[in-house]
């Protein structure tokens, strides 16, 4: 039990370090990387806490985290590279569907 607590503590330290990096920057990519790491840490933290609490059935949440984290990161990168989440290339045809 205490081992799980220690693991949580370690993850907490990890959180703080990662968030510091996210705040410091300096490039946006540093922040993305840091937030991505925060996400991973959160996945782990939730998994560990599930065991800690005796209800490990809630790993679904961790699973969700992992997925969302990935999608979020990709979206952010897309935003950075193309300044948009939409089509970064102009559509060839004029499709005014209205």
């Amino acid at each position: 039990m205490s081992c799980l607590a220690a693991a949580l503590l370690a993850l907490g330290v990890g959180f703080i370090l990662a968030i510091t990096r996210a705040t410091l920057g300096p490039t946006p990519f540093d922040r993305v990387l840091a937030v991505n790491t925060v996400g991973t840490l959160a996945v782990l933290a939730i998994s560990v806490y599930g065991f800690f609490d005796g209800r490990p059935a809630f790993l679904d949440i961790a699973l969700l985290y992992a997925l969302i984290n990935f999608i979020g990161t990709i979206a952010i990168l897309k935003y950075f590279r193309f300044g948009t989440l939409g089509d970064h290339a102009l559509p060839n045809s004029d499709e005014d569907g209205a």
Partner: protein, 165 residues
């Protein structure tokens, strides 16, 4: 982003997985955490991923706007008419006990239906939100063909490099 082969391939693996996970969350809300709303959001995020990686137009092609509006309204109506069904059986609105012979089965059915309604609406709304917001951008770009953007978006890849097959 389809010019990046790693992302492209991984996204192709992930998208069905995410969708399946969403449906799992949808239908297992009775037993574990989750339910219609969460499922809807997750399901929508699969579409978001799809659109982010493969482009909005392709995303729209998958689920046209008109279907989407029907989804948005349909979910609400499913929920509402599940409730009305209770009234039709002589009980009050949203009364599920009478939906089946056995009250517990009725409750199950009712919960399943309303969760499905929620999930449908939420998924459709979230997809719509994303497409509207993101679509606004490209639309705007078209209006003001600002060059700063043009330069930035001239990627090494060309649209022809789209995934085929």
């Amino acid at each position: 982003m389809q010019d990046d082969v790693v992302i492209r391939v991984v996204a192709k693996v992930m998208i069905p997985a995410v969708m399946l996970f969403a449906l799992y969350v949808q239908f297992h809300g009775d037993y574990g955490p989750g339910g219609g709303f969460q499922a809807g959001v997750i399901f929508a995020s699969a579409f978001v991923l799809n659109a982010v990686v493969f482009g909005l137009n392709k995303g729209r092609h998958v689920w046209p706007a008109h279907y989407n509006l029907m989804g948005i309204c349909g979910g609400v109506l499913i929920y509402g008419f599940t409730g009305v069904a209770g009234m039709a059986f002589g009980e009050n609105f949203l009364s599920f006990n009478v939906l089946a012979d056995d009250p517990i089965a009725g409750q199950h059915l009712g919960i399943l239906l309303v969760e499905f309604g929620v999930g449908l609406t939420v998924a459709a709304v979230m997809v719509m939100l994303f497409f509207t917001f993101a679509g606004r951008l490209s639309h705007n770009r078209l209006l003001s063909k600002s060059d700063a953007h043009e330069r930035r978006l001239a990627p090494k890849s060309s649209p022809s490099k789209e995934v085929t097959k």
